[in-house]
Amino acid sequence: MSKYSAKYLEDKLKEKLDATYVQVCDDSDGCGGKFSAVIVSKAFEGKALLQKHRLVNTTLAEELKEIHAFSQKSYTPAEWEKVQQQQ
């Protein structure tokens, strides 16, 4: 359905957002239409939640035309540390 893989998305997010941690899961059973992502980047610092998500959406604008379900959790390094402590 879409030509994108989790690995492709991970690489692109890492490169474009200078992300320190990216994990993309393919939730589509391989058809490539549904992904969920955890992204940690300094690029999110000082940005409101909506702005963080917008940054990711813009980075993947081309891909999101084909991927119909994309869910993201986007954190600054400091927020990510807190999230991991809670787990």
Binding site: L49, L50, H53, R54, N57, A61, L64, K65, A69, F70, S71, Q72, K73
Partner: protein, 143 residues
């Protein structure tokens, strides 16, 4: 040349791809639409029968907080579906507005719900979340 179709021949009609896509709703129309209630949701399906897991998640969050809201089914109206995406420059449905302001989609709503910020956002527009009421009732009982 006359065309004769045998009655047993199945016939089907696919979308006429040469027809122009329906025009997206314009900004002025959407400016009004996002303000018809304090909370307005654009979703797939309706609150009684959401037709997408992400839209369903938003419906469930609103239900937990006891929020009265207006819902628009984008599957019923292609011009609305495209129009709202253009309006917010946001690629996906559902989309949630509070007081005419775009708040976000499913991920953001879920995160606002989990962090407790949704209660605050609702309070700003004069909606007291049911979760807050329950919390306060518990506190009163303790005292």
């Amino acid at each position: 040349m006359p065309q004769v179709l045998a009655s047993a021949t199945p016939r089907w009609y696919s979308a006429d791809t040469s027809a122009p896509p329906p025009a997206a709703l314009d900004k002025a129309t959407l400016d009004k639409l996002v303000r018809t209630n304090k909370v307005v949701v654009f979703m797939k399906g309706n609150p009684q029968a959401p037709r997408c897991g992400f839209s369903n998640a938003v419906v469930q969050i609103m239900r937990m907080h006891g929020v009265q809201y207006d819902a628009h089914d984008v599957l019923q109206n292609e011009a609305l579906r495209q129009g709202i995406k253009d309006y917010t420059d946001w690629p996906t449905i559902p989309q949630v507005f509070i007081d005419g302001e775009f708040v976000g989609g499913c991920d953001i709503l879920l995160q606002l719900h989990q962090s407790g910020d949704l209660i605050e956002e609702l309070k700003k527009v004069g909606i007291v979340s049911e979760l807050l009421k329950a919390e306060e009732a518990k506190d009163t009982a303790k005292k």
